[in-house]
């Protein structure tokens, strides 16, 4: 087990290097020059040249990459072109906000998709199943950003129940902690729902399929033959087996969740890493873009790793060796 984890962690390194290589070269080979966005076009060429040297843009591209890599390994991702702040700091300030949204979305998804998927499978063909199958398909077909817009339209704009943008109301910074937490929660509700809808739909179908497959297994027949009440057959014998694939699937849905985060944060002006990333892209803020790409990739890959570890923990066939 420990060897398994160590081996996977080791595999991470070439993977991340590959990611960095591709990102770096894609971005630097594209037309367009970061300096163009910030410098007064009337600036004298010597000044411009000095800025370029400052930012290391005068070097050949592979040298730039090696320099970047060397620094990155020491967690120095350079400084943002716009704010001058170290990239690491900018990301660190906002990462927790994104994680708050993503982890809440994960938990909410699990809380809903497991009961719904299991019940749909157990009462296959019933009204619940049919209804939620249609809803699942609809949920997968809805553009995430449109859900965000519609939620905003209904609850914020038309009904005024919830705030449309931001993470907190700047006016209440002084109030007590409970009020501030509630305030964040109010702001979080719409983006959270928007983020969850898409993944929820797909995962519910997976859970249903997993449960159906388990219910068809021989050992379920054995359980019934032992005289176990149906309740126990389903909740003890079937469910435990049906939960195993969910761990992996959730890991695999991580990249999509991230993608959703970028868009949702932008719509709702949620101050997270996603929104920062989109802004960085528009600003051609290379150091910041690279930093965010690397962090996202790292989180995605770590997420997959945790999913695999979780799977190994949860399935005794993998956890305990044969004798």
């Amino acid at each position: 087990m420990r060897k398994f984890i160590a081996r996977r962690l080791l595999q991470l390194i070439p993977l991340l290097i590959g990611v960095s290589l591709i990102s770096f070269f894609v971005m630097h080979l594209a037309p367009g020059d970061p300096t163009a966005l910030f410098i007064d076009p009337n600036i004298n060429p010597q000044e411009l040249a000095r800025v370029r040297v400052n930012w290391g843009l005068d070097q050949p591209i592979h040298i730039q990459y090696v320099k970047w890599l060397w620094n990155a390994l020491r967690l120095d991702f350079g400084r943002s072109y716009t704010s001058g702040q170290p990239v690491i700091v900018e990301i660190a300030e906002r990462l927790p906000n994104t994680l708050l949204l993503m982890i809440s979305s994960y938990i909410l998804t699990l809380l809903i998709c497991i009961p719904v998927g299991v019940y749909s499978a157990v009462k296959k063909g019933g009204w619940f199943d049919n209804l939620f199958t249609v809803l699942s398909f609809a949920g997968m077909a809805i553009p995430t950003f449109w859900v965000g817009l519609m939620l905003m339209l209904l609850f914020a704009v038309q009904l005024g129940w919830l705030p449309a943008v931001g993470m907190f109301d700047p006016l209440i910074r002084e109030k007590g902690i409970v009020i501030r937490v509630m305030d964040v929660l109010r702001h979080m509700l719409l983006p959270l729902i928007a983020m969850t809808v898409g993944s929820l739909a797909g995962l519910t179908r997976y859970q249903r399929a997993a449960m159906l497959e388990v219910l068809n297994q021989d050992f379920i027949r054995t359980a019934r033959a032992k005289g176990l009440p149906e309740r126990i057959v389903i909740f003890k014998h079937a469910l435990r087996n049906a939960l195993i694939p969910i761990v992996t699937i959730m890991g695999l849905s991580l990249p999509d969740l991230f993608g959703g985060a970028f868009i949702i944060e932008t719509i709702f002006a949620w101050p997270g890493m996603g929104r920062l990333g989109v802004q960085a892209i528009f600003q051609r803020n290379y150091p910041l873009i690279m930093g965010i790409v690397m962090f996202s990739a790292l989180l995605i890959v770590l997420g997959n790793l945790f999913a695999d570890i979780g799977y190994a923990l949860v399935d005794p066939r993998i956890r305990y060796e044969k004798k």
Binding site: I22, M140, A141, W146, Q158, P255, F258, I281
Partner: protein
């Protein structure tokens, strides 16, 4: 069977949309760029979907937007399928180091938050409909590659492939004549789902302003315009989204129907 009915329904809706898109110039009551009213009107008989903030007829824009979305979806998925099949076939057929190398590459591509990558690329180039199609295709082939690789690994071991090799057929011939035709079923199913995904991605890109550029109407950029007018003209935001939803949903239904019909595993 229920799935069958849904698939037929999806196919009809899709067919309808395709027809509307193809004949848009003939059907559209107004030119999509023309300003035909001087105010923003809700849906009515004169303007089925109302008018937008500039006074353009939304229904006409939506029709032309259908052209964009469907075309982008189709071309992007064709690109993705081609690349994915190529990589998957090579990896699955040759196995060994080639397989490892290709799959490594796939893993790297999968580690990217793809939306982000697409956005980054788009902002470097001047976003227009062509590079939208290409970029989406270039970033969504990985699933197909894995799928095709799996199929090739499976089929490669079957008897008739052994037989063909024994006769001395060349690799290329075996791949194209013997293995590939039997792998088409899952690829077709993946294509429908891929097209749905491409349409969703294009609309997200256009929504952020990095996809199809105005004034060319895309359902995505129509939604971008709608944001500032949510209070006063909510139909601007509701309608294009609904259209995307219906199109993608129809594609899913067709995909599921094909899956059942062609006996493809999940």
């Amino acid at each position: 069977m229920k799935k069958n009915k849904l698939a037929v329904f999806g196919l009809s809706v899709l067919g309808l949309f395709v027809l509307l898109a193809i004949f848009a110039p003939l059907i559209a009551p107004y030119d999509p760029s023309d300003i035909v009213e001087n105010e923003t009107l809700p849906p009515s008989l004169k303007h089925l979907f109302g008018t937008d903030d500039l006074g353009r007829d939304i229904f006409s824009r939506a029709l032309f937007g259908a052209r964009i979305s469907l075309t982008v979806g189709l071309v992007a998925v064709i690109i993705a399928i081609s690349i994915g099949t190529l990589f998957g076939a090579i990896a699955g057929y040759y196995g060994g180091l080639v397989d490892s190398a290709v799959m490594r590459f796939v893993d790297i591509m999968l580690a990217f938050p793809s939306i982000f990558l697409i956005l980054a690329i788009q902002v470097m180039l001047t976003p227009n409909i062509y590079n939208v199609m290409i970029v989406i295709g270039l970033t969504s082939w990985m699933g197909v590659a894995r799928l095709v690789r799996g199929e090739f690994l499976r089929i490669r071991e079957l008897q008739y492939v052994e037989a063909a090799r024994a006769i001395g057929a060349s690799d290329l011939r075996i791949i194209f004549r013997h293995i590939l035709p039997n792998a088409t079923a899952p690829i077709i199913v993946a294509a429908t789902l891929g097209m749905a995904g491409a349409i969703l991605t294009e609309s997200a890109l256009s929504f952020l302003g990095l996809g199809v550029q105005p004034p060319m109407p895309s359902w995505g950029n129509m939604l971008m315009d709608s944001q500032a007018y949510m209070r006063d003209a909510p139909w601007m935001a509701i309608i294009p989204g609904l259209l995307i939803l219906i199109t993608v949903l129809s594609l899913y239904f067709v995909g599921e129907g094909l899956r059942e019909h062609l006996n493809v595993r999940g």
